[in-house]
């Protein structure tokens, strides 16, 4: 492939269905198989909720940062999520500008945007000025229109049928 053809893409996985983070993990695995330098950056999620993926990524030697208080949006936890998100976004900006990465996953990044903790204008500017070969993968529900406009590829993941609606418990290796 010629240098000219190497173009970093912005991909967004959104929608109400399960599979957004899972898709991002798959992207990460495929890129890792291509000897790319990747990092997995999780907003909002608490580290305890994602043990299966963390153990896998640790074994692969993939860089992971997970910050957040979980999917809670009240009181102290809301504030923690906001502060952690801003901190992680600063770390993301450093990684982008370092020129060292081929792919960065910003998991659940739509939430800090939705809550206004991180401004979309700053995100747009940072992403538009990134190194030309760097892929950015963003996941999360309710992707704002400005993010969709910015993306090269947008995938909506729609839940058609789900076992959790049938009273089956969350399963290791499936949900976490």
């Amino acid at each position: 492939m010629t240098e000219k053809a190497r173009k970093g893409l912005i991909q967004v996985y959104t929608g109400d269905g399960k599979g957004k983070t899972t898709s991002a993990l798959g992207m990460l695995l495929r890129a890792w198989g291509q000897d790319m330098k990747v990092a997995f950056l999780q907003f909002v999620k608490s580290a305890s909720s994602i043990c299966g993926e963390h153990r896998a990524l640790q074994r692969l030697g993939i860089e992971v940062e997970t910050v957040g208080a979980g999917f809670t949006w009240v009181g102290a936890n809301l504030e923690k999520n906001r502060d952690y998100s801003i901190e992680l976004w600063n770390s993301v900006k450093e990684k982008i500008n370092s020129g060292k990465y081929d792919m960065l996953i910003l998991d659940e990044f739509t939430y800090p945007l939705k809550f206004g903790w991180i401004r979309i204008n700053e995100v747009r500017e940072t992403l538009q000025n990134r190194p030309s070969g760097l892929h950015i993968i963003i996941t999360g529900r309710e992707a704002p229109q400005e993010l969709i406009d910015l993306a090269d590829m947008v995938i909506e993941i729609r839940q058609v049928k789900h076992h959790l609606n049938k009273g089956i418990q969350a399963q290791p290796g499936i949900e976490y």
Copy 2:
């Protein structure tokens, strides 16, 4: 988790969007992180089209079988796809009945069903009689209604916007 709560699920990732196989790879990675025994079984795809994922899975020591002549549905290639698919399905049945696996991915399995190479009744019977803890993940476009009825979870992946429509070439680590 109690033994009672361990239930193998049938999940289907379908729809016209990119991310079905990617999601399956993510499931595989997460399950591998939980020390589950997994295998990745690819129908129809030709081995040359999927080097990134293969290299990654090989490094993880995950069992992969890929058979097929690629997404071609004419003449000798159609026949090859049919024969390979039937052969791989026989191997899948053995794996299911062996009781040794925690998760099997049947990637692009909707095609052999759609073309009638493998009968849905046989699939239904095999899956319904599988070991109770075994997760089955099926991907592919146009999942037949009988498969959807059989599944615990169905996710439709819908393409909202795609860079290949904008004249950007397929990228390593993204498409393959």
